[in-house]
């Protein structure tokens, strides 16, 4: 695949100014913010369920204006540091998808499902701060949102290949472009100065065995993505099963038994999330 195409796609992806989100999340946060007594934690909980709002908040707090780029990977911490005033500004400037809402709703559910799975996995693996892993899970397919918003033409062609050749979304991206949303994730994370841990989770979730700095995050997101698909919760853009890399389990020192425990826990979580309506 030509370098020119890659550069063109990268430029278009990084041009993104205003990622839209789904109407429901936005309304919910706006309602909370109207309450002068609202606590930062409450707002963080709702924003933490929406991949685009979470991404925006993390982008803002890690921007050089605040003076500590690349340090903050938690939505709750971001809210403490930005303050509710700035959050109001972020919310006011966020628009909603005017088209394709239905096709995007599946991706929202998939992302939130993956975030939940990552949190369970991180706990099971004995990691100290499960939220760090769930944020990476929430944002792991952000590159797909960026493509849908910035390059609807490219997204339409990927969808065609998925349907015609019976491929996963990731395979179709690579067939068509020569790279996948994992690469777009890497560009975005770099450009927005997100912490390296988050970047590795987003950029290496399809190849956790190659993660250089934080293979633990990449492995958790990889398995989280797999488990969400096992439950067919939401949609990652295709209805294929994705392969589970055994290296990821080994990396986290988890056995198949552990995985079954997590699957059980996840079943309860997911039915709870399904109660929150999307689109």
């Amino acid at each position: 695949m030509s370098e020119d195409l890659k550069t063109e796609i990268k430029d278009r992806a990084l041009e993104i100014r205003n990622l839209p989100t789904l109407p429901l999340a936005l309304t919910e946060v706006s309602t909370l913010l109207d309450d002068p007594e609202v606590s930062t934690d409450e707002v963080a909980r709702v924003i933490g369920r929406d991949q685009v709002l979470s991404a925006k908040v993390l982008k803002m707090v890690n921007s050089p204006v605040y003076g500590f780029p690349g340090r903050i990977g938690s939505v709750q911490h971001s809210l403490v540091l930005l303050g509710l005033n700035v959050i109001r500004g972020v919310i006011i400037s966020t628009s909603v998808f005017d088209i394709m809402v239905e096709s995007m709703a599946g991706l929202w559910e998939h992302s939130l499902g993956c975030a939940t799975a990552c949190q369970r996995l991180a706990r099971r693996a004995g990691f100290k701060d499960p939220e760090e892993y769930s944020v990476a899970g929430l944002l792991h397919d952000l590159g797909k949102v960026v493509t849908a918003c910035q390059m609807p033409d490219v997204k339409a062609r990927i969808d065609e290949v998925v349907a015609a050749d019976d491929l996963t979304y990731f395979e179709a991206e690579r067939k068509l472009l020569g790279f996948g949303h994992d690469r777009i994730n890497a560009w975005i994370a770099e450009h927005w100065k997100l912490p390296l841990r988050l970047k590795e989770g987003m950029a290496m979730h399809h190849k956790p065995q190659l993660a250089q700095y934080y293979p633990d995050v990449a492995a958790v997101v990889h398995i989280g993505d797999f488990l969400t698909r096992v439950y067919e919760f939401g949609s990652g853009g295709d209805d294929q099963a994705v392969p589970l890399k055994p290296e990821a389990l080994k990396l986290l020192k988890l056995t198949m038994c552990d995985l079954e425990v997590v699957l059980d826990e996840l079943e309860g979580d997911l039915s709870e999330i399904a109660g929150l309506r999307f689109a």
Binding site: Y66, G67, F68, I72, V80, L81, L82, G83, L84
Partner: protein, 323 residues
């Protein structure tokens, strides 16, 4: 209002008597509130010594000065780090204003000749208060600095207004700076400033203020009844966020190793916040000096604890855990 209660001084460098009269008439004496005192210098050169010895609060320079190009006066003042905070406003004819090269002449504003008194007064006031703010603001956090802090506290004391004043500083900040360098230390100070500003604002009280004394020393003013809540929130946020500012290995270990002044390897725990809170109740304080003396004593107490903690003057004490 200027921070210190001396009348502000405005210097005008101009041969134009009409202009001098207009400017002098801008601030008529109104009751108790004294406007700035305007001194007029017809010759630019003669004014320089006085400007350098006792800089005014505002310097107005006529663009038509005969003995010294006004650009030279501006360059002299703005070229010295000690004087560059002094706001300089030029009085220019429309032609001179149109020909002005803002990159070459470092003025803060200009007034068009002939000047319109009401507009001129508003713009000059604006320029002076902007200069006072930027002069006093901490260059790193841009929070108000010492002059504002002291005048705010003294004002509240004079009004016999009840308030709680929290002195906030960081434990083990020096060892963090030594291990990671100043740039990383500045990141932590900016993070701390954000936590304080947001916590205090979220209390939603009219009486609230955050200032940056310098280095890792900050102050917050909050209503008496909200002081403990503010302390708990500040400590909780700081303790949760600060590990992100360490290298991953140090964050996991819960501290860092570095050599102390004697060259000995020492272990330092993660940074923590110490807060000492002084209250003004029913006019118990009479001057600013008392506040800092009481706070110094309390700080010692707060510092005895290894973890983040707060000490309330003549009230309950806490160790960061809600009772």
């Amino acid at each position: 209002m200027s921070a210190i209660d001396l009348p502000r001084r405005v210097f005008l460098l101009s041969e134009d008597r009409e202009l001098a009269r207009t400017l002098d008439g801008l601030w008529p004496v109104e009751g108790q509130i004294a406007g700035p005192v305007v001194s007029v210098f017809a010759r630019g050169r003669s004014a320089l010594e006085e400007i350098f010895e006792q800089p005014p609060d505002l310097l107005l320079v006529d663009g038509r000065l005969a003995d010294l190009p006004f650009t030279e006066v501006v360059a002299l003042v703005k070229g010295e780090n000690v004087y560059r905070q002094l706001p300089v406003v030029a009085c220019l004819t429309p032609a001179a204003a149109a020909a002005l090269d803002p990159a070459a002449v470092e003025i803060d504003d200009f007034l068009l000749l002939p000047i319109e008194p009401a507009v001129a007064r508003a713009r000059l006031e604006l320029t002076m208060s902007r200069a006072a703010r930027s002069l006093d603001a901490n260059p790193l956090s841009r929070l108000p600095g010492n002059t504002s802090i002291i005048s705010r506290i003294q004002n509240l004391i004079d009004l016999r207004q009840d308030f709680a004043l929290a002195y906030v500083d960081l434990d083990h900040f020096k060892s963090f700076n030594d291990a990671y360098g100043f740039a990383r230390g500045d990141e932590v100070l900016l993070m701390t400033a954000r936590i304080l500003a947001n916590t205090v604002r979220d209390l939603g009280a009219a009486l609230s203020f955050v200032g940056h004394v310098g280095g890792d020393d900050f102050v917050c003013i909050v209503p008496v009844e909200l002081a403990e809540k503010a302390c708990l929130r500040i400590i909780d946020s700081f303790d949760r966020i600060v590990p992100s500012f360490y290298d991953p290995a140090d964050a996991v270990r819960g501290g860092l190793r570095s050599t102390d002044r004697q060259g000995q390897l020492r272990e330092f725990p993660l940074m923590a916040v110490s807060i000492a809170v002084v209250f003004n109740l029913g006019g118990s304080l009479t001057h600013f000096g008392q506040v800092s003396a009481i706070a110094a004593g309390l700080k010692k107490k707060a510092k005895e604890k290894v973890k983040s903690s707060y000490v309330l003057d003549r009230r309950r004490e806490g160790n960061g855990q809600p009772a």
